[in-house]
């Protein structure tokens, strides 16, 4: 049995309306509007940097994860060495 497959995707023979040509953005008109919008919004958003450095204590989480993983093994170790525990 011979199967026929497309070797390469082609463009559609017909294109949907409004998709045929790339829409051009009229930057000359948009840019001043964008500038105006950012200027008016500027007063609304206040971002203040924290005075203390942000410390992510990964060490604590990693240790806890490790301890949980080791718990069963440590439990056995203690059982097998009762003379020193």
């Amino acid at each position: 049995m011979i199967r026929y497959e497309l070797t390469r995707a082609g463009t559609l023979a017909t294109t949907a309306p409004m998709m045929g040509a790339r829409r051009t953005v009229r930057w000359a008109r948009v840019l001043p509007l964008a500038a105006l919008a950012s200027a008016t919004l500027g007063g609304c958003v206040n971002v203040t940097a924290p005075d203390k450095p942000i410390v992510i204590e990964l060490n604590v989480n990693i240790r806890q994860e490790v301890i949980y993983r080791l718990a069963a093994d440590a439990d056995n170790t203690i059982n097998e060495n009762e003379d020193i525990f």
């Binding site: 440590a74 060495n81 009762e82």
Partner: protein, 131 residues
């Protein structure tokens, strides 16, 4: 019961009796020091002396801690993936503290010595839930 099964039963009993003393138990001096609260379980997985210690007691504690350290080191390296000696020791400490009996001493997260009651011991927040 025929003779063969009797012999097997006797042999099994003999093995059980012989195997029991082979399982290491605590040294009587260590057991007594624990019960009297002269030594306690520390958070770091080692034994600590509570209050003043005689040189004999100090030697007993050091001896046990050396053995514990060797064990922790061996098990930490055998873990997959390997962990640090301190991580293994801390885990063992969590478990050893949770296994203390009422009247025995243990070290609380603030470093103070506490006497174990029937209530769960105060342990490091990273300790796994007691089994």
């Amino acid at each position: 019961m025929n003779r063969v099964s009797k012999m097997i039963a006797v042999a099994g009993l003999a093995v059980a009796v012989l195997a029991t003393p082979a399982m290491a138990q605590r040294d009587p001096a260590y057991e007594a020091a624990r019960a009297s609260g002269q030594v306690g379980e520390k958070m770091d997985g080692y034994l600590g002396v509570v209050g003043g210690a005689s040189s004999d007691l100090q030697r007993l504690v050091s001896d046990i801690n050396i053995k514990r350290r060797a064990l922790y080191s061996q098990r930490a390296q055998a873990a997959k993936p390997a962990v640090t000696l301190e991580e293994y020791a801390l885990t063992a400490g969590c478990i050893a503290i949770s296994r203390t009996q009422p009247g025995e001493k243990y070290q609380a997260p603030d470093g103070s010595w506490q006497t174990r009651t029937s209530a769960p011991p105060m342990r490091d927040s990273r300790c796994p839930a007691a089994q």
